[in-house]
Amino acid sequence: MKVVIMGCGRVGARVAAVLDHNGHEVTVIDINSRAFRRLPDEFHGRTLIGTGIDEDVLKRAGITDAAAFIAVTNGDNRNIMAAQVARNIFAVPEVICRIYDPVREDTYRRLGLTTVCPTTVISAQILDHVMSASTLGA
């Protein structure tokens, strides 16, 4: 499977490494070349410097025949815009977009994007731990 990942932060680099390790064809885009240092030494995929909100950069990354696009920069709006370019212009079958702001996440989920909101996921996990701790203590 061909996958394009925008954003080579901790999450992007890890997702890229795992997919690459599992034999998928991975291209990672980041505006900062230093970000690619997060990739493991054995990474076989491609790296590309640029911004994923630029159609030309996405084309060079091979978006036209990608099976999935993953937007995980630390800018919500950049992820949202790139995800919509991937979905509406390039008709990528699977588009996943990270959005930190829960309200924006809700808006774009309703508009049909596949979204992941770390804020709600992590808060829920922490609250789970707090609750179970308080039950034990009670």
Partner: protein, 222 residues
């Protein structure tokens, strides 16, 4: 009219100033609290500090009753999201986005932004017009129908000089609106003859702008 402007750069600043002076109810949202302090001194309490892409900020700005939301930050992704949130969450009737990268105009419209303003395009056009002896100039985009007004100069030796307007194989979706001859405006009819030195002002769909350029600029070598 109630107008919310997001982005307090130069465009946002002068837009706020102008719209206020025209008597509209205006609210300017700007991220940088240092800038908003300055704006409040200048404009009074029509400025709030906050991220206009955040629904909570738009909600407290009264976006639900806004007639127009204008996003003029320096980042295209922010302008897109501001307009989409205004449209989809607050049902704002008209959203206007500044487009910094001209390539994004089409995308923004496709994604539901009502009006896009590409300042790069405008500046390019203005510069094009200011360069002497430009034979074919894209003057202005008409926002609604994807039409443009263009100006084609009939250069000396042009094969269309001496022909009548009616005799030109003008493409569909295009109309020759006027001729400018020695500073005089001529409203042409089918029998008007084109002369060297004329400016042909045409209104054309943007898709056929290139065909029109070829027709009017035939044999022209810059």
């Amino acid at each position: 009219m109630y107008i919310i402007i997001v982005g307090g750069g130069k465009v946002g600043f002068y837009l706020t100033k102008t719209l206020l002076s025209e008597g509209h109810e205006v609210l300017l949202i700007e991220k940088d609290p240092d800038k908003t302090d300055l704006f409040i001194e200048q404009f009074g309490a029509v400025v709030v500090a906050g991220d206009g892409a955040e629904a909570a900020v738009l909600a407290s700005a009264g976006a639900a009753r806004a007639d127009v939301v204008i996003a003029v930050t320096g980042e295209d992704e922010d302008n897109l999201v501001i307009c989409q949130v205004a449209k989809n969450k607050f049902h704002v009737g008209r959203t206007i986005a500044r487009v910094n990268n001209p390539k994004n105009e089409y995308l923004f419209r496709m994604l539901g932004v009502d009006i896009t303003v590409s300042q790069t395009d405008y500046i390019l056009n203005l510069i094009e017009q200011a360069i002497p002896d430009q034979p074919f100039i894209h003057l202005v985009n008409l926002i609604h129908e994807d039409m443009a007004i263009v100006d084609a100069k009939v250069v000396s030796g042009s094969p269309i000089a001496g022909r009548t307007i009616g005799g030109l194989p003008v493409p569909e979706n295009c109309i020759i609106a006027a001729l400018i001859r020695a500073g005089e405006l001529i409203i042409p009819s089918a029998t008007t003859t084109i002369e060297e030195g004329d400016d042909i002002i045409a209104i054309a769909h943007r898709s056929i702008e290139e065909d029109l350029r070829k027709l009017l600029m035939k044999n022209y070598r810059a």
